[in-house]
Symmetry: C2
Subunit: 585 residues, 2 copies
Amino acid sequence: MKTSEIKRYFPILDWSRDYNKDTLFSDLLAALIVTIMLIPQSLAYALLAGLPAEVGLYASMLPLVAYAIFGTSRTLSVGPVAVVSLMTASAIGHIASIGSVNYLEAALLLAFLSGVFLLGMGLLRMGFLANFLSHPVISGFITASGIIIAFSQLKHILGIHAEGENLFHLLQSLFNNLSHINLATVAVGLPALVFLFWVRNGLKPILMNMGLGDKSASMLAKTGPVLAIVATSFAAYSFDLGDKSVALVGHVPNGLPSFHLPVLGHEAWRELMMSAIFISIIGFVESVSVGHTLAAKRRQRIVPNQELIGLGAANIAASVSGGYPVTGGFARSVVNFDAGAVTPAAGFFTAIGIALAALFFTPYLAYLPKATLAATIIVAVLTLIDFSILKKTWGYARSDFVAVLTTLVVTLALGVETGVACGVLASLALHLYKTSVPHMAIVGEVPGTEHYRNINRHTVITHDEILSLRIDESLYFANAGFIEDKIYELLERRPDVQHIILMCTAVNEIDLSALEALESINHRLQDSGITLHLSEVKGPVMDVLNKTDFITHLSGNIFLSHHLGINRILEQYAEKSQSSNDWNI
Amino acid sequence: MKTSEIKRYFPILDWSRDYNKDTLFSDLLAALIVTIMLIPQSLAYALLAGLPAEVGLYASMLPLVAYAIFGTSRTLSVGPVAVVSLMTASAIGHIASIGSVNYLEAALLLAFLSGVFLLGMGLLRMGFLANFLSHPVISGFITASGIIIAFSQLKHILGIHAEGENLFHLLQSLFNNLSHINLATVAVGLPALVFLFWVRNGLKPILMNMGLGDKSASMLAKTGPVLAIVATSFAAYSFDLGDKSVALVGHVPNGLPSFHLPVLGHEAWRELMMSAIFISIIGFVESVSVGHTLAAKRRQRIVPNQELIGLGAANIAASVSGGYPVTGGFARSVVNFDAGAVTPAAGFFTAIGIALAALFFTPYLAYLPKATLAATIIVAVLTLIDFSILKKTWGYARSDFVAVLTTLVVTLALGVETGVACGVLASLALHLYKTSVPHMAIVGEVPGTEHYRNINRHTVITHDEILSLRIDESLYFANAGFIEDKIYELLERRPDVQHIILMCTAVNEIDLSALEALESINHRLQDSGITLHLSEVKGPVMDVLNKTDFITHLSGNIFLSHHLGINRILEQYAEKSQSSNDWNI
């Protein structure tokens, strides 16, 4: 392997060279703030995934170190995130019941499979596949996930049981159990929820009034969840809320995770494989989009295929150290960025911070009410819910709107995996449908130029005996028949036409099915005494046509430019009428 | 409903008006020849589908009448065909065992579901969906089906048992049972096979030597299978071959089918639904392609959506009259056409011919060896097998080749339904992949014109400060990221560039994901002091862009033609240097 290749696979070699005291200080400060934010988040998202609280902490140590070595984003904060936690719960829920050892092992296995899949995609340079998740599909999916997550956490605030993978079942279950509402739990959860809502926007101005700078106030406001945790834990301890049926986190093992490979059998592998792929792709797309956004702000670049390797390494690290699937989180990465993180070393220091927390703070978590964690989740995911994409796409293009709506509705109605799969299929189907019924324009010369445009939109010069037709799509199997029919239809309405020139500016490909359609058009027009020409055929298309007999069969010519073609045909007419004049003389 | 609409749904009203003695005579003659051809075919294809021989006859009566009323092809011969018979056997084989009543009822139900699906597609005008079956996929599928059918009939020629839905299992089963070969059966089957092979090309010249005209000789040569049937039936009767373990057709009930609706329960519906859809689509595509070819020869047209209705009606007719799925057959339709059929009434008369056969000839079928029918099938399907498509697509485009090969191999290895599904998915995936990594060309002015072409293929005029980039694809979610990366890459190699013009001749759509990519390109270039322009944006794309803020954000202009754009930018430079000159003075 060459040095450049080694560097490509180990971005740490790139940024660690210039590491100095200044960057160390910046990274340390950012790590401190992110650690304070990540402790409640990691506990809460583990709860959302149906896992013991400590699993969230474990997923916030080694994965960060792995990403710091292999990742290309300087400021991405890898770890547990809401959407992937929901998908984890949904995936494992199928094969194991919550709380059992199997459930935990399944989470490890899921992270492992996810990591291997991401790593494989990265090494095979298949990052481009993520492009097939369109922006509307991602938006619809994230909003729907946010709604499901928020409602799934309501049970913890109300102190009732409720299950359901899709929104309908969830609401039904919540409603059915509403009579068992636990008032002591509500007494903890509701204030925590209100406080966290308020803290999002209300704390910062107060801190600024107290003389803090804009940035410090912002950062300090992020400690809201920690305040809520301390306050409600203290309340739970003081008022013995555990005895009043308020669900507490309970005993959290002290110390660092033990290392072992996931142990479930082949069947579990098979059953979790599809879910691992879904989680990987969603996690990757979310992470890359955050990474791109932050990198652009500092004129840095991230390399999607290396990001796959970084996230793959992070997930494998999670799986061997008692964690569960992780990816780059939006809110946390923004905080990391704003707090001044300069290199991935900030992630490394964050991992140390979490490790210290796991070593020394876990005893204090025993009295932490689950309602508080649920409140932090609800407040966090509300930022994910954004219906404005519906309005935006409605105004822009119906196909984008349908893609959003399909993803949104199916995710809510049938769950996360079905939702994202249907969204991708819907957006691909819409795209294919559009290309199967392409736009075509009869074009004419824009006066004073050699440019040809749609006769319905521009004032242009046309000729009765020549039909200039621009086909606005590559010719391939799905539209070959449609185009053939359209040409015949047009010619029926234009009996004077003796020449038809297909302007191929938008024809980027002619596949075999389309070539056969062209052959058939050519023969049929020839029988009717109409000459078929092509113009502005692109190089790559011409290369392919040159391999066939089509050009020798073609009744007319292939012109370099449409303008040349029109002129050549008109010249022929002039010559003909000239020679017939000669004859008359 | 208006008269024109009624006529659209009942094409019979169109052609029956002009019906006269001449057309009657032509149709009657064609019907006679097709009937003689159809009797052995219908018996043989029923055998192929695993059904009693009479089911083939029943499928050749009412369906032909239904198609004569609703179909738009004047000469299509509807009835049992090889590929659909194979698909029927494969579909029903999953849910019932051959020979049981359930098997027969399942065939009726399959025809019914198929008919309803076709009818529904026709009424909803969804015929365009069939376009997604590309020519390479159909070719690969038909060839693979022909191979499977030919090998599946070998057991009848050899007098052994063999089962297997895919080629591998079939060959294995044939090989394992080879020791049980029945020599008496081979003594019938092999001569029949050799005779039918010979008759395909050998009989016609002899008949012509005997003084018959080209056409009459052709027609008479089609009676080969009937001769084989008569001869082998006579042999079976004379030598008591039934006692020598030669499989005979046996008792065939005399008379017309009884009418009843298919009776299987809901579970059978569910299980057969997917197969019915596959059979419908394959049958429709095959039928329409035959119909198109024949109609074109007489300057007639067929209407795909009405064809769906015609074939739907034919299949429903088959299901209520004891038949099984039918469609338009290639060989038979060509014979019908060549024999001079003028209207679908020929199909109607053929139905009467088959009904007469069912009423009076069935007793004679008792001694007909199944080996003879197998021989007619083998000889018929060998015309389907055509490997030249592999060579043709290899030379034309690798993506077409991959589509053929995938369909061919998967059909042989995993069966007909999986084969066609994988073929369609492969061809769509290849198309999507190609559009996700579009071709882009840096273009320059072709001297003496206003035309811009690829700098690598043409001698063109370029300017250092302007990058003219033609993007050869619509901008959509699958390629937005790729295009963005490519543009940055190009600009890194061209540090002098101050203006970039994206030439949008091939951009037929800009979806929301692509619009966001354009916004991001625009901002990033603006930061680097590069102005982004677009040129030759098409009407429909411009309509969409006009709904957004993009145009106000765009740092440069949108030019009607690329040439205008280049000139405008150069003028600005000229003015600037002019004014800086003024300043210097």
